[in-house]
């Protein structure tokens, strides 16, 4: 099976029996690959694998599937939709040459946009393993992926925020209080998105009506979402509930997706249900996907693949459905997959780069749990690096403390910080609304006058 990959260092020859072994051994260190038993055994072996990987022609990835074509619909999606014309400019390159090609000035925004359909996730994961953090940032920075529903997200110079107003028992007033706080701090242009405490259709519908009523009443140029399972959302669309975005967590193998209760046909059904409503005013990007390294191993469906390559395969699933928003929830899964701040930061930069290179509107839930060896300083570092890299959106959680999901993310203040520090702006339609409402001035400073009393009277008068 497959060809033998090898690298000789100081007279010792490392052999890697197939492509997936080579990819796994070449991965920068992280706890999840150790847990899966696929990581390099030494620092030298890791670099030996990277040296061997650098010599692998990109074409190899079209001929050697890392998860069998016959038994995995994600592999079939990847290979059946590959665009050889788009691939042509890099088809003669090895993985190592491709890294240098990406960093060269000739690989500009338009070139990279045209290349995206010609790349498979395995090619992209492979090249990322040869790249330093600054390479991941520099190349991502050149890419622009713009999406539209009721506003324009992802243009260069912009940074949007998902307003995440979760509450442990979905109390409408508790959620409304957090929504108000977020809007008055300038968050919510990516989406106002609630993780519901339960997946009941009735409770989800109630939250959707709450958000939609608020948006209508104050003419907020944004979209809402309750992040329930896609089957719940499809049911609500059929009942005429105001669904803007169709959400689903996805992964990079058929087996891992099955553990989420989904497959590609179901995602297509959800996408078409969303489109049938025609609610977008500026565009019809309406899917919202979340991912995260480690989910395939967690579902025992990783096929001996390293977690970063599995993650990148999830982006091939996402791009099939023209999403408005995609984000990795990078540190949520815990220290058995990403042990500390260093591993979380590396994974966040990889996920953003890989998603962008494949043409996705990548955002990031920059986050950690309390048993990971990380803290808010690590989040500040990753936030700043991703701001430089041009991340489309981040999370806005009150005080960075999600009281429902019990993890720490980024806050409304953090979004303002990174906008100020790097000269970034919200989605233009949302920014104009912030000005009209007297919430922000044109320099991005938050104001303390304007229609704030009306806003919260509006929210709490029902």
């Amino acid at each position: 099976m497959g060809m033998n990959y090898a690298c000789t260092i100081r007279g010792f020859t490392y052999r890697f029996q197939d492509l997936k072994t080579l990819l796994a051994k070449a991965s920068p260190a992280r706890s999840g690959d150790g847990l899966a038993g696929v990581a390099a055994d030494s620092y030298e072996e890791r670099v030996a694998a990277q040296l061997a990987l650098a010599d692998v022609p990109l074409r190899t990835f079209l001929n050697e599937a890392v998860v069998p074509y016959e038994s995995d619909e994600v592999t079939r999606l990847i290979l059946d939709t590959h665009d050889p014309v788009a691939f042509a400019p890099v088809s003669h390159l090895t993985v190592g040459d491709f890294r240098d090609w990406l960093l060269a000035d000739a690989a500009d925004t338009e070139t990279l946009r045209q290349l995206a359909p010609g790349l498979t996730p395995e090619m992209v994961a492979a090249v990322s393993k040869l790249m330093r953090n600054q390479d991941l940032i520099r190349v991502a920075q050149k890419i622009e992926v713009v999406t539209r529903f009721r506003n324009t997200i992802g243009k260069k110079g912009q940074l949007s925020a998902r307003l995440q107003p979760n509450h442990p028992v979905d109390d409408p007033r508790g959620i409304a209080a957090s929504v108000l706080d977020g809007l008055l701090y300038g968050s919510g242009d990516a989406v106002i998105g609630i993780n519901p405490a339960t997946d009941s259709p009735a409770a989800t519908a109630k939250l959707l009506y709450l958000l939609d009523g608020l948006r209508e009443r104050f003419s907020i140029p944004t979209q809402s979402c309750v992040l329930s399972h896609i089957t719940t959302t499809i049911q609500l669309v059929e009942q005429g509930v105001p669904v803007d975005l169709v959400f689903q967590s996805i992964a990079g193998t058929e087996g891992a997706n099955a553990s989420f209760g989904i497959n590609l046909a179901l995602l297509q059904e959800g996408y078409e249900a969303g489109l049938s409503l025609g609610r977008g005013t500026l565009g019809q990007n309406l899917m919202y996907f979340e991912t995260g390294q480690g989910s395939a191993l967690s579902a025992n469906a990783h096929h001996g693949l390293d977690q970063q390559t599995c993650e990148t395969r999830a982006y091939a699933v996402a791009r099939r459905y023209n999403p408005l928003l995609v984000n990795s929830v990078v540190g949520f899964i815990g220290p058995e997959y990403l042990f500390d701040g260093k591993q979380i930061i590396r994974a966040g930069l990889e996920d953003h780069f890989c998603g962008k290179l494949l043409g996705l509107p990548m955002g990031m839930d920059i986050c950690y749990t309390n048993h990971a060896n990380a803290d808010q300083d690590d989040m500040d570092t990753l936030l700043t690096l991703l701001g430089v890299a041009g991340v489309n959106f981040i999370m806005g959680v009150p005080g960075a403390d999600d009281i429902m999901l019990n993890y720490q993310s980024t806050s409304f203040h953090d979004a303002l910080y990174v906008r100020k520090a790097l000269g970034l702006r919200p989605a233009p339609e949302f920014e104009a609304w912030l000005h009209r409402q007297g919430i922000m001035d044109t320099d991005g400073n938050r104001l303390f006058t304007g229609s704030q009393p009306q806003l919260y009277a509006g929210l709490f008068s029902e």
Binding site: N370, Q376, P398, N445
Partner: protein, 265 residues
């Protein structure tokens, strides 16, 4: 005389909304940043959570609390030799270290109805605070109801599933595992209780029931004992635990053990 300079911190007009949520809203700002008091309050909450994750079982206090129960007590270790290994290798935390398994085999325990297992989990702090009281209550109630008890066991670097291996080695019909839950910023001292009927190595979450958030400000220990004993009786009546065993008593609910139950098993 100069006026004292006004501090740049601006408070938010909507602080009254804090009544509706525990979320960190209306923090105010200086520039665009969180004011120092709110920033340090967050750090303190995180410090409590981190200290809980790296806390250790208080051996002397636990032994003292358990001594009056007149049951043998065994100290056991999982295959995770230290905390960082425990955090990276959940599979090790689910298995007894070979010498601990051997020690239990050597007991050649007589069949018993209930084995009570206590493990540090992700918060030994929670165990140190509440496990003594809960175990005392469970032993008393079990004796009142005529259940026989296996020796008590305390496990270092343990995860939920290790209770099943222990219950199996102790020849117990049912295991009650008390374990420190993953600390959140709002609570670093929650104890969880996991029940398995017919415990054996390799069982998974859907075969267990979980009672979460056992702590003074959550489900107080005395109420937790009542809930656990209700489930124990029902489990013996139905000869099962897990998704098919439902709580029909008042709130708070008893959850089937799952990824959302707080403790990563």
């Amino acid at each position: 005389m100069n006026e004292p300079q006004k501090l740049p911190v601006e408070t938010d007009e909507w602080t009254a909304l804090k009544a509706f949520t525990e979320a960190r809203i209306a923090l105010g700002k200086t520039g665009v940043s969180v004011p120092v008091r709110a920033s340090l309050a967050f750090r303190l909450a995180h410090a409590h959570a981190k200290d809980a994750v790296y806390s250790a079982l208080d051996t002397d206090a636990l032994m003292q609390a358990l001594a009056p129960l007149e049951l043998p007590v065994y100290w056991l270790q999982s295959r995770a030799e230290h905390r960082d290994m425990y955090l990276q290798r959940p599979d090790y935390g689910r298995q007894l270290a070979p010498q601990s398994a051997e020690a239990l085999r050597e007991i050649a325990a007589q069949p018993a109805d209930v084995a009570i297992v206590v493990a540090d989990g992700l918060s030994a702090t929670a165990v140190n605070l509440y496990a003594g009281t809960v175990v005392q209550g469970l032993v008393q109630a079990s004796r009142d109801q005529g259940f026989t008890l296996a020796p008590l066991t305390l496990v270092e670097q343990g995860r939920v599933a290790i209770g099943d291996e222990i219950g199996h080695l102790l020849n117990a019909r049912m295991v009650v595992m008390l374990i420190g839950e993953r600390p959140g910023l709002s609570s670093a001292d929650s104890l969880g209780a996991y029940l398995t009927f017919a415990p054996a190595p390799g069982l998974t979450d859907e075969r267990r029931n979980c009672i979460s958030n056992i702590r003074q400000q959550g489900l107080p220990p005395a109420m937790a004992v009542e809930k656990i004993m209700y489930l124990v009786s029902e489990a013996f009546r139905l000869k099962l635990t897990g998704v098919a065993l439902k709580d029909t008593t008042d709130t708070p609910p008893i959850l089937p053990a799952g990824p959302d139950a707080g403790q990563l098993s």
